[in-house]
């Protein structure tokens, strides 16, 4: 038999391990124990799990605590609290996690332009857990949702909506002899913000590109109007490679199709290529994001010219520099200095918080 007191203690224990168990749920659990056979372990287990968990992610914690609860032992408060951690969501074990576990770790970082003394570069992203990678995707999704929800001032007719389109309704009424039978509706047109992401995958960016590509992948797959590119010594368009695939397969295709991965950097030349081929697609509704550390082996003049063009055509030019995350970093490299006057937003991109802070900048 189960006493109420033990049930309450069990719920408290669950709460301490990170499950959100409300008093209302405790009451429900108590009510449930009245109507089931509370000597049957299986039945009690399933019932309480139905009531006290709210997600499959809670199951492992619940299972381990239930064992103690059922055996009737006194629950030890402090011990074990840190041992049982909420496992990462089941879906994370699919594509992304699989890929990251198999990410070639032996990639050399010793390439032109990368300075070993740059302190920010020492931060190790290989320690990123599945949970944090999930978080990156979530941030990307949230940014994109915010972009898509933004409404412009213009109207468009829709089949069903909240606002009556008077002009159209009256015109429709003509065919029923001036009687308003069918109503037409209208709504605010969604803003046509587009995103262009240009990601540096040269050697000096190696440790960040994994994180940033995940971010680009997230953006690409939750928003139709995203174009993504990568460059090291030359530019490649990767929109098609990233789209509608598992992260694993997207990266397989990337490594097969993109040359010069992890090589040196020629930002100026790559952006010039971009401008030559894609500039006409860029308008004031487009936010251009460049992800790079600014180490350029080419001439700064070329970079200046390319950025000037880009800045003129685009709605906003954002440069995300992972090195900016470290407190000692100053944008003194020739490339970066040349680029500064043309950038609307110069922000770090070395951790989750910096990606999260990006959200307001992307909305025009």
């Amino acid at each position: 038999m189960l006493e109420l007191e033990r049930l309450v203690g069990f719920c408290r224990e669950l709460r301490e391990h990170g499950l959100s168990v409300t008093p209302a749920e405790v009451v429900t659990a108590a009510a449930a124990l009245q109507i089931i056979d509370n000597r049957d372990r299986g039945e009690v287990f399933l019932s309480l799990r139905n009531i006290l968990t709210t997600s499959v992610d809670d199951f492992p914690v619940f299972e381990s605590l239930f064992a103690t609860f059922w055996s009737g032992k006194k629950l030890v408060q402090s011990e074990g609290r840190s041992k049982i951690r909420r496992s990462s969501p089941a879906r994370a074990t699919g594509g992304v996690a699989f890929f990251l576990e198999n990410w070639p770790t032996s990639r050399s970082v010793d390439v032109p332009g990368a300075s070993d003394t740059e302190s920010g570069a020492e931060k190790d992203f290989s320690g990123f857990s599945n949970h944090e990678l999930e978080e990156i995707s979530r941030i990307a999704r949230r940014i994109v949702r915010r972009l898509a929800r933004k409404r412009s001032r213009r109207w468009r007719p829709v089949a069903r909506g909240h606002r009556v389109n008077l002009r159209r309704s009256l015109r429709l009424s003509l065919k029923t002899g001036g009687e308003l039978i069918d109503l037409a509706y209208k709504e605010r047109r969604p803003k046509r913000t587009k995103l262009v992401v240009i990601c540096d995958v040269s050697g000096s960016m190696d440790i960040y590109s994994r994180l940033l590509l995940q971010f680009v992948y997230g953006l690409q797959n939750s928003f139709a109007k995203v174009e993504s590119f990568v460059f090291a010594t030359s530019l490649s368009r990767i929109t098609g490679e990233l789209k509608n695939k598992t992260y694993q397969r997207a990266l397989d295709r990337l490594s097969a199709n993109v040359r010069g991965w992890s090589g040196g950097t020629r930002i100026g030349a790559s952006l010039a290529t971009f401008n030559a081929q894609w500039l006409r697609r860029i308008d004031k509704q487009t936010v251009v994001i460049i992800l790079s550390d600014g180490w350029d082996t080419g001439e700064p003049e070329q970079l200046v010219h390319a950025l000037e063009q880009l800045k003129q055509r685009s709605g906003r030019l954002i440069w995300l520099n992972p090195l900016l995350g470290s407190s000692t970093y100053q944008p003194v490299t020739r490339g970066m200095q040349a680029a500064m006057p043309f950038i609307n937003v110069f922000a770090p991109a070395n951790d989750l918080a910096s990606l999260r802070a990006l959200e307001p900048h992307l909305v025009l």
Partner: protein, 284 residues
């Protein structure tokens, strides 16, 4: 509880103790049941079987992005109201009477939620399918309806449910649901079935399939799920495939049959390539 399990099995739904417990509690405590799981594992099927087992109506609300309160709850039948006024133009009724007439229940278009609340005979099963596809605003609105099962229509007044419907919500986890909604509901997770359970399902649903073939089909499906595919096939696909094999009069799986019917459970070209690469020996 055993009774529920038995009832479901009569509807050819292979229920395990977990599902039976969840449904029993949901009915006994009068709480909505939130079922989560990957696509194609039979979440929707639970509600359908429950309705059949209880011999009651199934009212289904399919969620989609942009679903709003009017499409889910009620709308005034505006053209009918207009026509009515037109007909009554010469009648001696006063304006107030006319107004009362056109804002009566006869002019109300009941959408699924209102239908579920006004069901008179017996409590229906209300299936709110793929709640994760609706947006946050709708979820908040739904919470309000689910908490007291009453709806206020300004012109008519408050309508309270005569029989509280049995509510089943399903979600594919494409979006995180709000904590408030999760807490309001009982929670149940369905995963892909084990080999034995899937075999049982196949044999129950496609009885014409032979013992040997059904085993091979399930084995292939179980192996397929462990591959790295972009669309992992669910039980629905297994059944489609089994039905296709029966329709073709197949008795054993060979390369030719596989090539012809692979589209039943793999719907993506690259997935098919992956499958073929991993399965060079499926012909036995």
């Amino acid at each position: 509880m055993r009774q529920i399990q038995h009832l479901l099995e009569e509807q050819i739904y292979i229920a395990d103790a977990a599902i039976a417990t969840a449904l029993y509690l949901s009915m006994a405590l009068g709480k909505p049941l939130l079922i989560e799981g990957p696509a194609g594992v039979g979440k929707t099927e639970i509600a359908k079987s429950l309705a059949k087992a209880l011999k009651t109506k199934l009212i289904r609300l399919q969620c989609y992005e942009g679903l709003d309160a009017t499409t889910a709850l009620y709308e005034w039948n505006y053209p009918k109201q207009l026509l009515h006024l037109k007909l009554e133009e010469t009648s001696p009724a006063s304006e107030a009477e006319k107004e009362a007439a056109i804002f009566s229940e006869a002019f109300l278009l009941k959408r699924p939620l209102l239908q579920a609340i006004t069901e008179h005979e017996r409590a229906p099963v209300l299936l709110i399918d793929e709640i994760d596809r609706s947006d946050e605003e709708f979820e908040a609105f739904l919470l309000e309806v689910l908490s007291d099962f009453q709806v206020t229509i300004p012109e008519i007044g408050t309508i309270t449910a005569t029989h509280k419907p049995h509510v089943v919500l399903t979600s594919n986890r494409s979006r995180d649901l709000s904590d408030a909604l999760r807490r309001r509901c009982l929670y149940h997770w369905i995963d892909y079935p084990s080999l034995d359970k899937e075999l049982e399902i196949v044999r129950a649903k496609v009885p014409q399939i032979g013992e040997e073939l059904s085993r091979r089909v399930t084995e292939v499906m179980q192996a397929t799920r462990s591959m790295s595919l972009s669309k992992i096939p669910g039980v629905a696909e297994t059944l489609d495939w089994a039905n296709a094999l029966v329709a073709l009069g197949t008795t054993e799986l060979n390369e030719e049959i596989m090539a012809e019917t692979i589209g039943c459970f793999l719907k993506d070209e690259t997935d098919i390539a992956t499958f073929k690469a991993g399965n060079t020996d499926y012909a036995d």
